[in-house]
């Protein structure tokens, strides 16, 4: 018995449609993967060359007569960047030690301390700075650009950068003593 000539339906999406759909899908997955990877990366790791950024300073603070700091201008010096906030209780634990360390290293001219005030209100920040007598340059993290660059997980966090602009050490959480701060700075000065 024979059955003939039944037209077989041809199913198919044009090649250009397939390519576009796949490109969109792959692009979408790449974006998700990139964001997930970034979210899981944690803070900037030691060995990373820190790009230039600008820190506007609170009024009353100046560096070489300027009211803002370009981090690139500090090449040749050890830079200690401390992220803090007035609402952050652990930040208070280390505030005195940081100021003490700054007073030690300021006369050498080889070390610069910078305070970056994270997600804070200026009146409370000023009260905090006055309360702990902090004299090293401090400024707000405008639009959280600096903290996003360093991918901080919270405050306090402190970053030690060598004379070549390379990140050397990250302290997550407060310092418990001034020796801890010295222990990170001294090797960088040798």
């Amino acid at each position: 018995m024979t059955e003939t000539s039944i037209p077989a339906p041809r199913r198919g999406v044009p090649l250009w449609v397939q390519i576009i759909i796949w490109v969109i899908l792959v692009g979408f997955l790449v974006v998700i993967a990139f964001q997930l990877r970034r979210a899981q990366q944690g803070s900037v790791q030691p060995g990373h060359v820190i790009d230039n950024f600008t820190l506007p300073l609170f009024s009353g603070y100046q560096v070489d007569g300027k009211s803002e700091i370009q981090i690139a201008d500090l090449r040749g010096k050890v830079v200690v960047i401390n992220f803090w906030a007035s609402w952050c209780k652990p930040c208070e634990q280390e505030a005195a030690e940081l100021q003490q360390a700054w007073k030690e290293y300021e006369p050498t001219g080889q070390v610069v301390f910078l305070g970056v005030d994270y997600v804070d209100t200026e009146p409370e920040a000023r009260v905090y700075l006055k309360k702990f007598g902090i004299t090293y340059p401090n400024g707000p993290d405008l639009a959280t650009r600096i903290s996003q660059y360093f991918r901080i997980k919270g405050v306090p966090e402190t970053y030690f950068i060598n004379q070549d602009g390379v990140l050397q050490y990250v302290q997550v959480g407060p310092f418990s003593s001034i020796e801890q701060i010295r222990a990170q700075i001294e090797p960088l000065l040798k």
């Binding site: 018995m1 003939t4 039944i6 041809r10 199913r11 449609v17 804070d120 209100t121 959280t144």
Partner: protein, 169 residues
């Protein structure tokens, strides 16, 4: 004679001082409404703005109900700015400048904010629709006549089904 009408130097200074004081007083009175602090804004007024914002520290918690110290400070700042006569838009702009656009619960009402996603969705839907239409549309293929020979006693439909299944493999 003319010397008699010359005012004394000390009197000139006095007039000048009085005149300056009068101008200063006038200026103060004119500018008073802008300098004066308004009445303390109520919690409702503060929260009306606060609920449109999120603090980056406490993600997923609107500012009006966030219990942290950071958010309390933000609400205080809103209250202060309201008392200074700042408008809702000015306050939101200040917070965006200070803490970034992510503090806003809703993105700013810019053309690109809604236009680009809408265009992307429409294009995607169009693309899919066209793709499905072409996919589902049967087309007759020239010279594809199928000859299926049923075994004796076999249902011709079963025979055809088997043939189709073979082709699928």
């Amino acid at each position: 004679m003319s010397e008699l009408f010359k005012p004394e130097p000390s009197r000139i200074t006095t007039y000048k001082l009085l005149f300056a004081a009068l101008i200063a007083l006038t200026l103060v009175l004119i500018s008073r409404p802008t300098l004066a602090q308004g009445p303390t804004p109520t919690d409702d007024e503060v929260n009306r703005i606060a609920k449109q914002m999120y603090c980056p520290v406490c993600e997923n918690t609107p500012l009006d109900v966030c219990p942290t110290e950071a958010c309390r400070q933000w609400r205080d700042l809103i209250r202060t700015m309201l008392a200074e006569g700042k408008s809702e838009e000015e306050i939101k702009q200040y917070f965006v400048a200070q803490y970034g656009i992510r503090v806003l619960a809703e993105p700013p009402n810019r053309l690109t904010t809604y236009l680009i996603p809408t265009i992307a969705i429409l294009l995607g839907a169009l693309l899919l629709l066209r793709g499905f239409q072409m996919w589902m549309k049967p087309s007759v293929t020239q010279g594809t006549a199928v000859e299926t020979e049923a075994r004796p006693g076999q249902d011709p439909y079963i025979a055809r089904l088997e043939e189709e299944l073979k082709k699928q493999k």
